[in-house]
Each structure stands twice: as structure tokens, then as C-alpha cells.
Subunit: 202 residues, 2 copies
DNA sequence: GTGGATATAGTACGGTTGACCTACATAACA
DNA sequence: TGTTATGTAGGTCAACCGTACTATATCCAC
């Protein structure tokens, strides 16, 4: 059994994954069903199950595809400008992205899901690990005096802090209009932290 | 129809709400059902529906009760120590709390739910508004030179940043052991931000 | 152009879900 | 003590769920 080898099948798989992604965003995982995905993709349930025999396989594939988009953009950031500019670009990019409807809706679903489904946790952790890895490289360039351990901690702190804003300045959230201020405060204070991050623990 | 007026009914409602809270944490909202709540509470479905005629009423009441606990503890923080100490206590308390299993599991469910259910959004926003209000009072005490608008922005930035750590240093998350470091970095950098937060926008 | 792989449709099954309704048990109080 | 409000159990219903299976249609290489 090898599905998706004809051009028809390949584009079909793409349609399905897109439909599934959109349904997750629109309706949330608590009413995400195979039948609704099939409807959204414009195909019949039987056909959907030909490509994805089980719901968990579909969800897994859909998450993988969505996450891959984020991974690709992280690499891009590293290719332009000074470390300080890369740092600012990354923060600005992530915060701006998190105000899009897709991201605002998608990530809370991912976070929730990862708390209850083992294999989803793995994929999510891998994505954030890559994110922190890129961020860590930039931070090390900005302040070469930092130890690897310190770089790791700073990457964790900064990336986690940025993610938190999803719930507050995301799409249709109460503070969407403050995005520019948040970006400014984030770059300001996190830059300071990176430059003074080698302060020993009290 | 006025249920929960006898002592039996009152404690029953408490049992139900606790069971519902626990089920949400254990199983996630995507398999949160009236029957499972009834089972967890040790009562029959018909009885559960006597107290909560619809699922949305139950969820709403359960969320309200859980949120109330957080609101109460925020007030407590304001009663001891200098503004700087209050600031540190609040940050430490929130971050420490977010590493508990209950909080780590509960909040992503809340965030996800608030993206899809209108009335849940209202309750969540009220809680965070109160949180920011307390934090804002402390910040204003720490740096009286700040304008109300600046205080508001700082409260938003700091509270949102702290929430983000749930997904990374929460219960059973990959970085749980870094909690102390995160608390240190948070107090350090956010204190700096409050003290230098009146820097004009570039 | 035909045969075998691929894609699509259709149906059926066992289970769960939220809501509704009725009958019975228990508690409070006149 | 009796009667009324409150609490509890149980059954029913239509809708939806994931999965399995079969039958038909379409595609492409030979």
C-alpha cells in the first residue's frame, strides 16, 4: 500500500492536510473529526481514510507539516545582518507572526494536545529545540563571554517569554494594538539581559 | 428551580466542580464529557444534569471556581513587604505555581477554550485584568515616575511573558529543573525594565 | 488497450455524546 | 405528621464518532 504516488494523490494529501489545519484553527481540537476534515477537503470519509487510516496519523502528519513551516523560517533569519539585527528580527518575526489568526489559534491547541498525547509532545519539543538552538547561536554571537550553559538558559527564558504573548496580543485578543510596544519592550529588555546575562546568581 | 440549597446539594456541587476540574486536567477538554464528570463525582448522569442542565453551564461554573482561587491569591501578595519584594513575590509565586501539574495542564486548556467559546473568553480576560491590575499597582509603587499608560504596558508585557513559561518549565516539561534560574532571570530583567521603562520609543 | 495499482465512494457497526423526560427517594419544615 | 421542595436514578433519543470493509472508478505503465 503506497498512497499519494500519482499526482492526483499527492495534491489530495496536501488538500487534506490544509483542510485539517484549517479545521483545527476554526473549530479547535475538541470538535475536530474525520468527517469534518473530509467535508472541508471536499472528499468522502472513505477516501480520507484511504490516505490516513487513523485519526492520530492524520493529526500527526498535519502537525508535522505546520511545524515544518516554522522551522524553515528560523533558518532564514540567520542569513541576514549582524547578530544584534538577527536577534531583533527573530523577536519581531515571532511576535508579529503570533498575531496572525492562524498562529493565535493553532498554538494553544498544540500546547493543550501535547499535554495529553505523547507523540505530539515529541514533535513540539523538537520544534522549540530548533528555535532555541537558532536563538542560542545568535545570543552567543552577541555576547561571546557567555558560557554554553548561560546561552542555553537565556534562549529558554527569551523564547518562552515571547510565546506567552500569544494569548494577549494575538489575533482578536484584547491587546492586539499593543504589538509594536511589546516588540519594543521585548527587544529592549531581552537585549539588555543578553548583554548582562553573565551576572552570577546571587 | 433552585438547587444546591440543602447542605447535601451544596457539597454535591462542590464535588461535581472538583471532579470536573480534575477531569479537565487529566483528560483535556477534547474528552471531557458529562458522563465522565458524573462518574468521577460518583453520581449518575441524571443527577449531574439536575445541578447543571447543560454542559456549557458546568464548564462555565468550573472555570469560574478555578479562576477565583487565582484571584484570591493575587490580593494576598499586596499585603506584605516593600513594592520590590511584592514584585519579586508575585513573579516567584506565579512561576512556581505554573510548575504544578494542575496549572500546567489547566491553562493551555483554558487558552484553547477561550479561542472557541465566547463566554469563556470573558472570564479569562477578567482574571488576567485583575492580575495586571495588581501587578500595575506594584509597578507604580516601584517607579512613581511612570505614567499610567506606561504602567499598563509594563504589566501586560511582564504578565504575558511569565505565562509563556508554562509550556516549557511546567510539570513534566523538558525544563522543569530550570525553574529557579527562570525565576532569577525574570525578576532580574523585569525589575530592570520597570526601573528603565520610561525610556521613550526610538 | 489492457491489466494491475491507485483512488474514490458507499455502507455498516459498535460506541459515545448531550439533552430530555419520568419515576422514585429523601430531606426540610408547617 | 404530612406535604412540598429537593435530590437521585434510569431510560430514551437522535446525532455523531472512529474504524472497518466492500465495490466501483480512474489512472498509468507496459
Amino acid at each position: 500500500m503506497k498512497n499519494g504516488v500519482y499526482s492526483k494523490g499527492k495534491s489530495r494529501i496536501n488538500d487534506i492536510l490544509d483542510a485539517a489545519h484549517q479545521l483545527l484553527i476554526d473549530a479547535g481540537y475538541h470538535n475536530f473529526s474525520m468527517r469534518k476534515v473530509a467535508d472541508a477537503a471536499g472528499i468522502k470519509l472513505g477516501n480520507l481514510q484511504y490516505y490516513f487510516p487513523s485519526k492520530s496519523l492524520l493529526v500527526s502528519a498535519m502537525l508535522d507539516k505546520t511545524i515544518q513551516v516554522y522551522l524553515d523560517t528560523f533558518d532564514e533569519i540567520r542569513t541576514h545582518g549582524s547578530p544584534e539585527e538577527q536577534f531583533q528580527n527573530l523577536i519581531k518575526h515571532v511576535i508579529t507572526d503570533l498575531t496572525s489568526r492562524e498562529t493565535t489559534q493553532f498554538f494553544p491547541e498544540l500546547w493543550s494536545l501535547s499535554n495529553h498525547e505523547e507523540d505530539i509532545t515529541v514533535h513540539m519539543d523538537q520544534m522549540y529545540a530548533k528555535y532555541r538552538s537558532i536563538l542560542g547561536d545568535i545570543i552567543a554571537d552577541m555576547n561571546p563571554a557567555l558560557s554554553p550553559k548561560q546561552v542555553e538558559k537565556l534562549s529558554l527564558f527569551i523564547s518562552a517569554s515571547v510565546e506567552g504573548h500569544t494569548v494577549f496580543i494575538g489575533h482578536n485578543k484584547p491587546w492586539t494594538k499593543e504589538v509594536d510596544n511589546i516588540v519594543a519592550m521585548a527587544t529592549q529588555s531581552f537585549t539588555w539581559l543578553v548583554e548582562h546575562g553573565d551576572i552570577p546568581k546571587r
